[in-house]
Amino acid sequence: MASSTTAYWRGIRAALPFLLVVAPFGMLFGVVGTEAGLNLAQVMGFSVVIIAGAAQFTAVQLMQEQAPTLIVLASALAVNLRMAMYAASLAPHLGPAPGWQRILIAYFNVDGTYALSHMEYEAKPALTLSEKVGFYMGTATVICFPWYLATWIGAVLGASIPAGLSIDFAVPVAFMSFFAPALRTLPHVAAAVTAIILAILLQGVPYSLWILLAGAGGMIVGAELERRMAK
């Protein structure tokens, strides 16, 4: 127990810098959701039930554009598909944990908890299962709980923001902050450029299906380029 408690605190310390990202993003979602006309319970519902920033922004944006419900769901879930990769890469480390722990681990699987924990497990292969779970829960404590609080603060503040400010621009800028720092390799850049070009060319496709088509096109180009470069 003692070693998993130590690991828990180590996880908390490792995640502290993420507060600088979680706090403004959570507040921004609260503001944007409120400005879009969601009530406080609905804004909090997004952050507590879904707990995935980029997908939450995606859903609210598409709802404002009056996209069909199925497109809202498919597009927001497509944004979250990367988490299947996170789950797969955590499975060798956390897969043996008891069922109720895996349920909590899955719920808290966001970019920050995954990145920090995976780095820790790779750097310290000797960690026991309970230490690994402890560290993960430490990162989740710092990254996920403040997400709720920040959303609430943003939602309450959002109701009092004057209409003249260009708050609409915060949404595309927030999206850019999700993907621009992730453009680490040539295939990443190729995937993004392909998706942008397809998004422009396919605007006329009905039901906002261009999002999924452009996204799939970008993924295929990125994956194919990676495969060819690895040869």
Partner: protein, 110 residues
């Protein structure tokens, strides 16, 4: 929210919650530590850097706030934010650049 009933909004929240949890639980809970095929992992690696840029493109080129007209100030601020995000790999610097650039350009009357 205009055009959406409370019931539909909550349906979307719950459906996205269940769908997102299923994705997160998938290979951790249901399929154990079975290895995924390489081609699938390779494609999943590019979901974020493909779908997010696609989503953002029309928001930047044809913003609702300007009635769908391309706005030089928003376009310039977006390109600056993208460049800063790419070079610094820093999310907060990306947002700060985009918003500061837009406010500055609007103050200059662009």
């Amino acid at each position: 929210m205009t055009g959406w009933s409370d019931a539909t909004i909550w349906t979307i929240i719950v459906a996205l919650g269940v769908g997102t949890f299923t994705i997160r639980f998938s290979f951790l809970g249901l399929l154990g530590d079975r290895d995924l095929p390489d081609w699938l992992l390779r494609h999943l690696r590019y979901t974020a850097v493909a779908i997010l840029p696609a989503l953002v493109t029309p928001m930047v080129l044809w913003p609702n706030a300007t009635g769908g007209q391309t706005d030089p100030a928003r376009l310039t601020a977006a390109i600056l934010a993208l460049a800063v995000g790419y070079w610094t790999k820093n999310a907060i610097a990306t947002i700060a650049t985009g918003l500061a650039a837009l406010f500055a350009l609007q103050a200059l009357g662009v």
